[in-house]
Subunit: 310 residues, 2 copies
Amino acid sequence: MKCTVCRGPAVIDVRRHNSAFCSDHFVKHCHDQVRRAIDEHHMIEPGDRVLVAVSGGKDSLALWDLFAGLGIDADGLYLGLGIDEYSDESVEHARAYATGHGRTLHEVDLAADVGFTVPGAAESTHRSPCGACGLSKRHLFNRFAMERGYDVVATGHNLDDEAAVLLGNVLRWEVGYLGRQHPVLPAADGFARKVKPLIRLGEREMAAYCVVRGIDYQVEECPMAAGNRHLGYKEALNAIEDRSPGTKAAFVFGFLERGHDRFGDDVEHERAALTPCTSCGAPTPSGVCAFCKLQERVTQVPVPSGRRPG
Amino acid sequence: MKCTVCRGPAVIDVRRHNSAFCSDHFVKHCHDQVRRAIDEHHMIEPGDRVLVAVSGGKDSLALWDLFAGLGIDADGLYLGLGIDEYSDESVEHARAYATGHGRTLHEVDLAADVGFTVPGAAESTHRSPCGACGLSKRHLFNRFAMERGYDVVATGHNLDDEAAVLLGNVLRWEVGYLGRQHPVLPAADGFARKVKPLIRLGEREMAAYCVVRGIDYQVEECPMAAGNRHLGYKEALNAIEDRSPGTKAAFVFGFLERGHDRFGDDVEHERAALTPCTSCGAPTPSGVCAFCKLQERVTQVPVPSGRRPG
């Protein structure tokens, strides 16, 4: 297998591009794809303060590294989810990258700063841990960015992630989510801009990028996500991609070109109707926001049975 | 396993309905689902002359039988595709059903009546046999209905078929096809109404219906379809359905409720621009229709090399 660019020995093939790359040209390929995503979707403007949501996994560390390679100065924020050894190991990878590359890593710890953990939230609400985790991440990354004056929150969602989320949304025709699914969510009252610069790169490319660049990352999948629907969608798409390379890219980019705007009305309408959360001030459809409700429910001290009201 | 209705021994469970049925109540379940599909989508009006597209497989024979059970008088049309023993066996099943149940079966033979077969078309056009087959079926069923005064062409597409086609269409965001994907395509100039009364019943239910009703059908899959993309989509959806029963139904019916109309403009626009095929008169976007082009290409006698023009 030879590099499509220089004919030297290739380290990875990218079937959907009908290409293979040596280490140097693979890094360039990744730079080019991220640059193209940023430019096409106007993700980052000159002077923007950028915050990377860093999990310690391959995608977020690769994103942080790719930003540096493209001359984009970005700080990281690690959110401690309290998932036992998985979280303990993840934060070490995030810290090691920051220290080794002279970057600023902020840390917020769910247990210490907000009073609960993801497993605790799942247990006391009898709901999926992934739901509580996603809600907490969206809320706290945004809150941190707003409080510290960051213009942009960049996340490491890659092409495989976006394709799987899109599949879940079309399988249930979640028209509100489809209207919101975009590599850029513009800033609005109470919201920093959200961007996904890895949308043109797949999961396998991100792992290869970390290997090529010598970045140590958390290789374990989150133990709480095992068997969730999202992973089922990924498997289904992998089976289809294997027969027809390029399916995921055509699915995601075709949606952006010809699908997304057909679901737009719902979002504008929803956003116009948001009011500040009466507890934390974040924009919410009504009264107290979902995160504050979760926090209240998980952290409240149970009322002893003898004193239960009514 | 007990029948959800009468608590007698069940012969089949239907996970997405969280139900199981004895033979009698399973037949009733199928009647109810077809009746509901017909009523909800106004598929058949009193006095309509109905033509069933009969392949000899489980779906089309079950549909013909379900029509009889619901008091809907329908004739069948079998289209001989010229796929060797597969076609020879298929037509025998269609004829046996018609004879055994006193129904009228028309037959059109591609080779004898139009001058080519599906394998021949695939070979001489170097295209997928499924493309030539689908094109020929759509064209010839419609032509037959128009010539013989049938108001409605009913096909045996079931829930699994529709879900797989829908998945293919959203994976490529084929907005024109999405606008046309509906259990009813209304009649228009040159087009009979097209209806899919089995849209609320799955593949497994159709096989079970034939077994319960003692209908012999072609059990082999078409040998030319092996490995095609459509079957890959079915496998992917089966894997997802297995984890989350009801996914296919939510996908198809959610599309009809919240998705379909968002893709409608393209269809109206396309239909308005159709003109009669200069060869056969069928509505077509321009000049000669796709079927006549295929027919011309496949049946033309090759010009001997010494006499090749220019």
